[in-house]
């Protein structure tokens, strides 16, 4: 019996199998940020141990950073303390640190691939659940807790039971205005937020083969929202072209050797998955969420479902609609919104800004909308300027903010006020995720743009 892509990468990192226990897995790349690392570094200090391979760890400040006036000192004392702590810890342990103001700063899952830190066949972890993003490169990438951050710093290894394997195939042609975000939200709506718990997912089929690396990152990013440990896509020419020449990617002979290996990274024809699902691209519409978990998504033009037609329990569903102040059977189209958030590690890349600009070009921001457009990194910010997108945004009455996680988790000042609705390109619509009492409608950059210029939920195909 053949091996899956996941088996090949996992097994090649197996250092030891613990009897009646987890596998000890070697980690090639460890990403660190200011929120989940301080207690891990403290743990190392308390135990008197050093970082085993500091050159394999990359630290970025993003969760807590302001998205305006980044040249000024951070005013929130606790945030400033966390940022300082990251700087001190990384200096002390010899780890590279892309802090606030650094040319490579941005959201950790945007900057790591952009700089060639992520390569096919690698194992990547970070104290952040959306580490799954990097599966787009054919890497095994997943989020870990702070104890595990400490573990990886101390030993470059992690102890994990091998997950089960699921393959999700999507074949056919995507319709007009259906983006990678919609593909992911559609899959999650079909599986529910726990439908892939215990599994590692491989995405296969021509929809993903035709997708750009940015699109693949969006899809893999959202794997965690259906409960999966992570999701991955076999590397191909698009992957190699993206990685080649990036600062931290292998060069010269090392590149050739790596390429030889990377070309073997695909699931064998006779490999078997624990679960396999197949969807048709033509069934997917532009999506929007109406509830308080990412599984509560529907085609934009559909009505809020009745509880019987969902995978939610009655109490949970009722609580969710009450929080959103939506009713069963209501249309989502036409609902007035207050905020638009374009950004995050899900949709804060250059393609997302191109998509947003394609809709708002020549139009004006709706007066009732506050829009936060937050590039995923300084590199994305620079691209926005170079490509003339900034001009399009400015002409339409929008402003561009500075990179960071921003309203995705609202740890900085970018909080959606209680009771307000935000069409957001981020990844979570949990109660209070974007600020206490905030109400989030997850959607693609196209749907966000359509809402930004009309002030309500609008079909981008009608614009």
């Amino acid at each position: 019996m053949g091996n899956t892509l996941f088996d090949k990468v996992w097994d090649s990192h197996l250092v030891r199998k613990v009897n009646d226990g987890p596998d000890v897995i070697f980690i090639d790349r460890h990403l660190v940020h200011e929120v989940t690392s301080p207690v891990a570094f403290l743990g190392l200090k308390n135990r008197g141990i050093s970082v085993m391979f500091p050159e394999k760890t990359f630290a970025v400040a993003d969760h807590n950073t302001p998205t305006i006036n980044q040249h000024l000192p951070v005013t929130n004392i606790e945030s400033a303390n966390q940022l300082d702590t990251l700087e001190r810890n990384t200096n002390e342990f010899g780890i590279s640190h892309w802090g606030l103001g650094h040319a490579k700063n941005g959201v950790v899952h945007v900057v790591a691939p952009e700089n060639g830190v992520i390569v096919p066949g690698a194992t990547v972890v970070c104290g952040d659940s959306h580490t799954s993003t990097h599966g787009a490169f054919g890497a095994i990438a997943f989020g870990i807790g702070t104890s595990e951050v400490e573990m990886v710093l101390a030993s470059q290894n992690i102890m994990q039971a091998k997950p089960k394997k699921m393959r999700i195939n999507v074949n056919g042609e995507l319709s007009n205005s259906v983006t990678p975000k919609d593909v992911a939200l559609y899959i999650i709506s079909q599986l529910s937020t726990s439908g892939a718990t215990g599994y590692f997912v491989e995405y296969a089929g021509d929809v993903f083969e035709k997708m750009t690396m940015e699109g693949r990152m969006t899809v893999c990013n959202l794997s965690i929202e259906m409960g999966a440990r992570g999701g991955m896509i076999a590397p191909d020419q698009a992957t190699f072209d993206y990685v080649q020449g990036k600062e931290f990617a292998p060069k010269g002979k090392d590149w050739d050797k790596a390429m030889e290996y990377w070309k073997t990274l695909k699931t064998d024809d006779d490999a078997v998955f624990d679960k396999e699902l197949t969807f048709s691209a033509s069934d997917i519409d532009p999506m929007i969420t109406y509830g308080t978990n990412p599984g509560m998504g529907i085609g934009l033009t559909k009505d809020v479902p009745n509880v019987e037609d969902t995978k939610e329990g009655k109490e949970t569903f009722g609580k969710s609609l009450e929080y959103m102040d939506f009713k069963e059977g209501e249309s989502m189209i036409g609902k007035t919104i207050d905020y638009v958030f374009l950004g995050s590690c899900t949709n804060g890349r250059i393609e997302d800004f191109r998509a947003f600009a394609s809709i708002i070009k020549g139009k004006k921001k709706a007066d009732n909308v506050t829009a936060w457009l937050v590039p995923g990194s300084h590199i994305v910010e620079a691209q926005i300027k170079e490509e003339g997108i900034l001009e399009i945004l400015t002409d339409a009455g929008f402003e561009l903010r500075q990179p960071g996680c921003s309203a995705c988790l609202a740890m900085n000042d970018d909080k959606i006020p209680a009771g307000k609705y935000s069409v957001s390109t981020s990844n979570r619509n949990f109660e209070g995720r974007q600020g206490p009492g905030s109400r989030t409608l997850l959607a693609s950059p196209l749907v966000a743009a359509a809402a930004a210029v009309t002030g309500k939920v609008t079909d981008p195909r009608e614009i």
């Binding site: 030993s155 440990r229 988790l409 995720r433 206490p436």
Partner: protein
Amino acid sequence: MAYDKFEILKSSAYPLPIDNVDTDQLIPARFLKATERKGFGDNLFRDWRYNSDGSAKSDFVLNDNKYSGKILVGGKNFGSGSSREHAAWAIYDFGFRCVISSEFADIFKNNCLNIGVLPVQVSDEFAKKIFAAIESDPKAEIEVNLPDQKVIILATGESESFPINGYKKGNMLNGFDDIDYLNNMKEEIKAFAETRLF
């Protein structure tokens, strides 16, 4: 981070029969700014527990004096969402040593195991029985027996086995963590690192 050993816990429990309780509810992002592991228990379920003016919401289970104990019984898909270990810390700091649910989100479950909170996975039916037992007597005691891997409703004697691998079980029983284990593998790890291509 070493923690207290876990063997047999007999305690009453708090019932929270809601599905998909996510880590943003367990501890909202604005309370993740500490650089030490202190004080998270106060903010466990912050926005479900307190009004925005800081007053307690009397109808939330943790504010209801009827209930007590070191066990939290949650709905399905407990702990979904972010990898923040702060969620598990908040549960521990509040005083819980065990969470029972019919399904846990993966990262949350690992986080619990790593800090000494025992995640006990039971069937949907058994979860319902526990909720029913607490409903008829808020002080109903549950026994969580790690050596035997059994959870028992003491009032009725009904019980169910729960899964945990031998290695993690040993860690919980002894208060060890993975770093203790990995520290003894340094040479093996160094040799492995030499073989990596990138």
